[in-house]
Amino acid sequence: MSKDAILGAIRRGLRRGPLPDDQTLGLRARLAAHPRHLIPARSRVPRPAQLALFVRNVEKEFGTVLRVPDAGAVPAAVALYLIAQNLPQDLIMAPHPELQALPWQDHPLLNVRQGRAQPSDLVSLQHGYAGVAETGTLVLPGGPDRPTTLNLLSETEIVVLRASRVVGPYEDVWDLLRSEIAAPAGGMLPRNVMLVTGPSRSADIESVLELGAHGPRRLHIVLIDDDPAAIG
């Protein structure tokens, strides 16, 4: 069998048989402890600076950010953004409780549908699970309340993110994912975890960067300032 042949060849190369039990236990312990390595100091700053770093990095990668004081201000911010971009007042929204609880009824002209994205959808509204200040990266684990297609099919993706969910390095996100999503699911990660840093792009034509290759051409983040410590 190929599996045995491959493992056998590796062990011959390493000049040993299957690992003895004590070494296997040691490796299992390393997996369970998943130790962190060196983490760049750039994101280890006070909360207001961390948020500012996140915003700066998103903008450096051609994303846009609008900070709003509370969740109630999100629908108006979304409606205004669509007007400013000359886009229709129509979007497909992640069926996430935090998004469903927003006062959409105050904006009757804004047509908000829920579910996964279809190819005809121009604008999607996604729920941001977390943000990574280190590189301005959004963390978007897939699931029934956060469909992956919302990150891919529309030309414009708007992500609603709470400031309290912006962390410094990626490692902090892994701990959130493990405790909040994987642990209740028997230790399994969601089927899909996308880390998104700016809108889709390609430099394949003459090494010149163009935005909007296959995924969204625009990535807009509405950042809710729900973290008093982060407001500088």
Partner: protein, 475 residues
Amino acid sequence: MLATSPAFKENAAHAMADVGLQKALARTRPQFPAKRAAAVAALPEFEALRDIGRDIKDHTLAHLDFYLETFADNVERAGGTVHWCSDADAARAAVLAICEAAGARTVTKGKSMISEELGINQHLEQHGIVPVETDLGEYILQLRREPPSHIIAPAFHLNREDWEDSFRRSHTDLPPDRVFYERRDILSEARTRLREKFLAADVGITGANFLIAETGSSVIVTNEGNGDLTQTLPRVHIVLASIEKVVPTLEDATSLLRLLARSATGQDFSVYTTFSTGPRRATDVDGPADYHVILLDNGRSAMVGTEFQPMLRCIRCAACMNHCPVYGAVGGHSYGWVYPGPMGAVLTPSLIGVEQAGHLPNASTFCGKCESVCPVKIPLPSLMRHWREREFERHLSPATVRRGLRVWGWFARRPRLYRLVTRLAAATLGSLGRRRGRFASLPLAGSWTEGRDLPAPEGDTFFSRYASEQRAGRI
């Protein structure tokens, strides 16, 4: 993929005379190093991270059997299937069987060098299944029936007129006299065309930048989003990955990801870094129903425990080729197989044999730039030297090279004589060339001086200059 590596010299001569390629090389050559340098300068911890990257990979390779089994167990726990494939034939058969079981007619593909190694497109086509490359660069190469010339910028060797020409010839349903005012217009046409393909595909095939043992996840990194559309929309997702792609944990992958994009494109992080774990769950509203991982060996396990093991640390960033003066002169196609540049010069002989690829480790000046930028510190020049030694031991190098080395070796073992001869040669050439300062042609070195002049020695040897500097107290 059929190798033209034995014809490296002819390929290189052809490449040097290719006007379009030289234009593309002149454009690209300075860009990658400058972008990498800027990204590295902005991260003070970069050097320390290189050591960490090397150590993570070395730890994994020392326990590769354990981490592969753990990875496979976790894929299966998440509802996926792992196919262990010893060689390209087994992998092609496994992919075809999955596609046929799914009744697949079209297959979309994310960028994957393993796919090139397997020649999977040709194999699917032979069995009536249509493969569609979706990375923009790979897409045009498929239209032109060309292999990639770079591992992360596969079509960098093409110029704008090539793109327009290929699109006009292939997209025949569009008006032939349409105008591409900007590069964006070319991109938009590809986006529209490929969007239809994404939606119609039955199976999506991607590569993997990393496999994570802890979670059973495959990781892909793209800027376009094509890999994500490929692995999200079709009913079946197939991951092609070689065995050295596995790392233990999310934290280990994270440290390597901090190195990857900076070394590759000079970005801090790629636009899409996606972790896939098994098929869609019962409550998910999108994602594939089946998830398969093809675990390919294809000669890699034979590198474990040899002097070539460090090559298995490679994370395919392309920094080595982006900084290589030889690659910069001849481009990627000259190398004649899947992997070009310094990493290809080491890996290709391991995978297809030094008989086929012996020229590649010789196509280096050993300037050492590749090793100095490698994010996982692979000693590429030393590994190329090992291949040269093997080639010599197996009497594969040409007779003139062997004779020349033998003559040099005879003198080198007699240091007094060696110094005498080199002193005489330096003095003679120095006095002959004093007027012009260089030689346009020299006996026995005709093919060397054909392409450039030999600077005339100043009449002294290094040894005598060193001794006199020392006497003068300057050293």
